[in-house]
Subunit: 134 residues, 2 copies
Amino acid sequence: MESAKQFRKRNAILACLRASKAHPSAETLYQMLQKEQPDISLATVYRNLALFKSQGIISSVATVNGVERFDGTTEPHVHFVCTGCGAVQDLLQVEQPDYSGFAQRLGCRIDTTQLTLSGLCRDCLGNTRKSPKS
Amino acid sequence: MESAKQFRKRNAILACLRASKAHPSAETLYQMLQKEQPDISLATVYRNLALFKSQGIISSVATVNGVERFDGTTEPHVHFVCTGCGAVQDLLQVEQPDYSGFAQRLGCRIDTTQLTLSGLCRDCLGNTRKSPKS
DNA sequence: TATCAAAATAAGAATGATTATCAAATAGAA
DNA sequence: TTCTATTTGATAATCATTCTTATTTTGATA
């Protein structure tokens, strides 16, 4: 009626995911949202992430230590998963090949292509070294 | 003492995984093993799969509907995941690019490269059609 | 073969991520 | 406002995976 119309939780969740480059899990997203949506429920986060995914407006890009990680876009690009700290980052420098043309040859319909590299990120590599950078 | 020496469960698990091309889950592997190892425990399957993975002699190639799927080798190759039936198949026809050389440029250590296509397999495509093949 | 320590296992409890349930709150149209 | 459909919060339920512990098996050695 008078005050600024409150955004739906749904909008806040999508905005928060899109604002992040960390490919958060549902739980992490829930924690990030607490600041602006203190009364949000974890179930709502899960529920809406599932909805967005079914609508094709977000994607899940990896499962790290049994936890699903999300990306606010569906633009195809390569990801790097650090097996040390669990971080997931975009590798925009690496071109993702397009295999959609193979569908007919393979007898199937290809909807998505996901290329994921994994290993140790720069930080985790550094922490492994005997002598840290002097 | 006298009878043929019984194989360890561990060996049976690895052999069963290697004999399969279906990229089974731990649970599916457990069910497949029941014939020859009726008294095997599901925990043993999980335990040994984790061991094999840490030894680098098997790999987990996908998570389908929240369930981890395994491959008896670590030879890099492309996989196709059907979002209809959950089947995971090798795509040996599709060459998997090698990005290990990017490590230095990216400042990280790349251990594995995983390329996964997903969509609908031939069977699930067929079942979608209004009129099945006459 | 008997004995012993280390490794492997079965059974089931515990954990933790995700999903389902349902009553209450909210949005949007009339 | 009033009505109805949608969305949500709280929490219970589910399900994959891991942990625990007592027991069994292995392999070495005497």
